[in-house]
Each structure stands twice: as structure tokens, then as C-alpha cells.
């Protein structure tokens, strides 16, 4: 389906479609889509034998099934590259990322864990070292929140030379879920954490035995969770089944998956993942260490890289998020940054969470560049690429959050560019 058709489909309830040609194309396309969707939902041979022309109102539909699947017409997938895969941001609706499309990053594969054999150990600077089964953790008071998780290597291509790409490949290492579990402080209280404990080592049960040091700041103690739930069901294996740490707003890697151990200490443990990796090298040769919070970022997801536009009405849509709290404003420029318009934030707008923004726009067919920039509750405004690189150089690898620019060429093709 073309970008043009998608745009009409989603916005027809609130904005007039000025081109009757597009309206006709949409209606024709929509009708044929409806005609095939229900028959394709029928199973096996039966479905194959159905002609696409059969009206779903003239045949009985599919019977109930134990675990649902999306329509066979929906083809959005993660894009895998080595040890990570990206979320198709351009195809998402609202703010929740379907669990099956949540980005992945793992350091020696996704472990297969039997939850009945899994344990969580809490030890170190505690009066009562504890070992919990999953069943025991489920008996604690549960908590739930919607939060984004973003790999700190997300958008890292921004540090280098520009190249033709998609919003998924460039920025798709971020996803939002409803996470459910136990507040970390509840567990630390049960283990009687000692007052001199200021850091926590969190360790995963994967073939990387991935471990990160977590500073026990007020923010962490107030918000950290040990999670077993994602979007209403158990965590997906790729997101840490059966147990993961959630540190809302912190870089993805420290939200340790397949969590098996929490060790309380009085200093950081200096694992590879907070020394050799996930540190930001500056032009003066020094590197930022424990730069854990993900700063505010926004990207226009529609229209975005490698999509094709027709001159007409479009609703510009995108996502904005900040590890420091709520997004308070998103501005959009459709003239390469000369002027900025305030975009509408689509509810719900939650702290440390993907926030959808929208701006109606009529493309006149002329070449232009579109951009978004966001502001968070601290007053921080997303920087331009130029100002980011002026301070941090091009070698820091992580935490890139410069403004994304999409060039719309006269032929309607959208390209990733720097301004």
C-alpha cells in the first residue's frame, strides 16, 4: 500500500481529502482489501480455495482460536541486522509497540529459560540475602507503567556520513510497552538493604551473563521495577523472559534482561558494558561514563526515509520521547528549519514514554526538508546535529539525539539528509 493511501485512511475522519482522484483510489483499494481479509482468515486449504472475489458477507468467517494472529495482510516486521533488530516505527499506531515488534539487542543470543527453574538472587550489602522463584515474585504487590526502552546506540548513524535509509533502520532501536512487575524497593526492603549500599549489580541469565551497575539514586529507587509482564502477558523471550529490570528513561542495556541476580555494593562494578562499551568518547580524548539517561529525541515517522509522496494533504506524524520525563512540546518545520509550527500531542502523553505528535500538511510538490524537534519537562530542547557534533565530535557512538531531517524530492521520494 502506498504512503498516500495510508495517509488518507487514517486521517479521513478529521481532515478533508482535497483530491477526488485520491478519494476514489482509496475507496477502490479499500473495497478490495475488505473483500479478501475475512476469507484469508479462514484456515488452510479452505482459505486457499477461496477466490479473492468472494464477499466475506456471503461466507461464514473463521472460528475462535486459542492465540490470535494479526491479519495475513499485515506484513510489518522487525529488521534484523547482526545482534539487533529494529522496530518498524513508520508502521506503528498510537504509542504502544506490539510485543512481537519490540526491538531486540542481545549480546550472545536469546536464552531459552524454563520459568520453573529460574531464580532471582538478591545479595551483597543486605541483612537477609534472598532467592525468589517467579511464583514468589508474583505474590508481591504488582505495579505497572508504560515506558519506552531505547538502546543507547539507537540513531548512531547520525554520528557518521549521511546515507539513504529508513526511519526504522536509523531510529528503530526504541519501543514502548506496558511493563508489569514488582517495585525494586519492595524487594530491596524484603532483603533489608544496608544503608551503605549505593550501587547495584544486575546480571542476566544469558550466554553473555550481561551485567550492569545501577546507581541507587532517588530516581532509581522510586521508579525501578523487576518486571515479568509486557503488554498484558509474560515478557517475550527477546525482552527478557521470564524477568527483567526496568529503569524508566535509562539506556536499554542497563534494563537487564533474563534477570537472575542483584548484588548490592558501595561502588560501581566496572563491567565491560559500562567501561569499554556504552561510554561516550569526546573530541578531547575523555569519555563520558554512566551517561545513563536517554535525552529527548523526536523523529517524523510519516513521511520518512524511502517513502513516496504525492502532492496533496498529509498528516505528518512522528514519535517523541525523553528519559527525563514528559514531552511538553514538539515543533515541526516543513521549510528546512526556517519556521517551526507546534504539533499536536496525541493522548496519552506520559513521562518517559513514546509520545505521538501530528501536524496536518499540504505538500505543494516542491522540494523541501521536514524536521521535528521536541522539548521535555526539564526545558531541554532536542539539539540540531550541528550543535551536538560541535560539543561531542563524531566518535562517541552512543546517545545521538540530533534533529532528523527528511528531504522531500520533487518526485516525492523521501531521503535522509543533513542540513
Amino acid at each position: 500500500m502506498s504512503e498516500e493511501t495510508r495517509g488518507d485512511n487514517e486521517t479521513s475522519d478529521q481532515a478533508p481529502v482535497s483530491s477526488s482522484l485520491n478519494r476514489r483510489q482509496f475507496l477502490a483499494g479499500g473495497a478490495s482489501l475488505l473483500a479478501v481479509s475475512a476469507s484469508a482468515a479462514l484456515s488452510g486449504v479452505q482459505a486457499e480455495e477461496r477466490s479473492e472475489a468472494i464477499d466475506p458477507m456471503h461466507v461464514p468467517g473463521a472460528l475462535p482460536r486459542p492465540y490470535g494472529e494479526r491479519s495475513p495482510f499485515e506484513k510489518q516486521t522487525r529488521l534484523a541486522a547482526g545482534t539487533s533488530s529494529t522496530t518498524p516505527l513508520q508502521d506503528l499506531q498510537g504509542i504502544i509497540t506490539p510485543s512481537a515488534l519490540h526491538f531486540e539487542r542481545h549480546h550472545n543470543g536469546v536464552p531459552a529459560i524454563d520459568p520453573t527453574r529460574h531464580r532471582l538472587l538478591i545479595h551483597g550489602l543486605v541483612d537477609r540475602p534472598m532467592i525468589f522463584t517467579l511464583e514468589e515474585l508474583l505474590r508481591f504487590p504488582s505495579a505497572s507503567r508504560i515506558a519506552f526502552i531505547e538502546c543507547s546506540g539507537n540513531s548512531r548513524d547520525g554520528w557518521g556520513e549521511t546515507h539513504d535509509s529508513t526511519v526504522q533502520a536509523l531510529h528503530g532501536l526504541t519501543s514502548t510497552s506496558e511493563w508489569t512487575g514488582v517495585n525494586l524497593t519492595t524487594l530491596l526492603g524484603t532483603a533489608h538493604m544496608q544503608p551503605e549500599a549505593t550501587w547495584l549489580l544486575a546480571e542476566g541469565n544469558d550466554a553473555a551473563a550481561l551485567a550492569r551497575s545501577v546507581p541507587l539514586t532517588d530516581e532509581v529507587l522510586n521508579e525501578a521495577m523487576v518486571c515479568y509482564g509486557q503488554n498484558g502477558e509474560a515478557l517475550r523471550p527477546e525482552q527478557g523472559y521470564p524477568l527483567r529490570l526496568l529503569l524508566p528513561g535509562f539506556e536499554g542495556n542497563i534494563n537487564v534482561k533474563w534477570l537472575r541476580r542483584l548484588k548490592l555494593g558501595s561502588a560501581p562494578f566496572m563491567t565491560r558494558w559500562e567501561t569499554a562499551k556504552y561510554t561516550d568518547l569526546m573530541p578531547d580524548g575523555k569519555a563520558y561514563q554512566f551517561s545513563l539517561v536517554m535525552d529527548a529525541k523526536s523523529v517524523i515517522t510519516r513521511p520518512s526515509g524511502q517513502q513516496q509522496l504525492l502532492p496533496d494533504f498529509h498528516e505528518i506524524q512522528g514519535l517523541a520521547w525523553s528519559g527525563r520525563g514528559r514531552i511538553t512540546a514538539v515543533e515541526v518545520s516543513v521549510d528546512a528549519g526556517r519556521t517551526w509550527q507546534t504539533a499536536r500531542l496525541q493522548e496519552p502523553v506520559l513521562p518517559k514514554c513514546h509520545t505521538r505528535f501530528r501536524l496536518p500538511w499540504k505538500w505543494d510538490g516542491q522540494e523541501t526538508i521536514i524536521q521535528s524537534r521536541c522539548t521535555d519537562v526539564t526545558g531541554y530542547q532536542q539539539p540540531t546535529r550541528e550543535s551536538l557534533i560541535k560539543i561531542r565530535g563524531t566518535q562517541s557512538s552512543y546517545h545521538y539525539n540530533g534533529i532528523q531531517s527528511w528531504k522531500i524530492e520533487r518526485n516525492g521520494l523521501v531521503k535522509n539528509v543533513y542540513v
Partner: protein, 101 residues
């Protein structure tokens, strides 16, 4: 560095202020003990946690020797390893953000 390129382990000293920084054990790592910890957790990659402590110390010593940090006859153990001063020991600063005006 291309996405997912394998890490280079040796060399790179003096590159961290250039536009082609090479982050290796010798040019970037803070602590020698981190190397032991990492090898113990995840190496060899296809059979993690199958090395004995002595094998891990030997690997650490070889990697440090290749980086010019210890000599060929150095013997490493739980007492000597933490005493090794890595070249980039003072190369890190706590997160100073917000840093971009």
C-alpha cells in the same frame, strides 16, 4: 566503524583524540580486572564459562602483553591483576550532561 563490526583488541593508543578513534583494550579499557570478568562471563563465545580461572588469567596476560602493557614473562593471578595500571585509567569523566547548549 561499521555496524556490528568485530572489535579490535590491540593497538589504537593515541587515536582517541582523532576522528578515527580505535577503542581497544590497550587504548580504551579502564581496568584489567574488567577483562578477566568479561572473559569469565562470556568466552569462548560458543561455549561461555567453560574456561578455568588459570586459562582466563593466561588469556588476560596474553592480551595485555599484545597491547604492550605487561611483559612476556608476567604471571597474573588474583593478587597481581588488580595492580595493573591501564593506559587509559584516567580517560573517563562522570556524565556531565546537559552539555549541549
Amino acid at each position: 566503524m561499521p555496524r556490528n563490526a568485530l572489535d579490535v583488541l590491540v593497538g589504537g593508543q593515541g587515536s582517541s583524540r582523532t576522528s578515527k578513534a580505535l577503542k581497544t583494550i590497550g587504548s580504551y579499557w579502564l581496568y584489567a580486572t574488567t577483562l578477566y570478568d568479561y572473559l569469565r562471563r562470556v568466552m569462548p563465545f560458543n561455549a561461555p564459562q567453560s574456561l578455568t580461572p588459570d586459562e582466563i588469567y593466561a588469556l588476560v596476560a596474553w592480551l595485555l602483553q599484545q597491547n604492550g602493557i605487561v611483559t612476556e614473562d608476567t604471571v597474573l593471578d588474583a593478587r597481581s591483576l588488580p595492580r595493573i595500571e591501564m593506559p587509559n585509567r584516567n580517560g573517563f569523566t562522570p556524565d556531565p550532561r546537559p552539555d549541549v547548549p
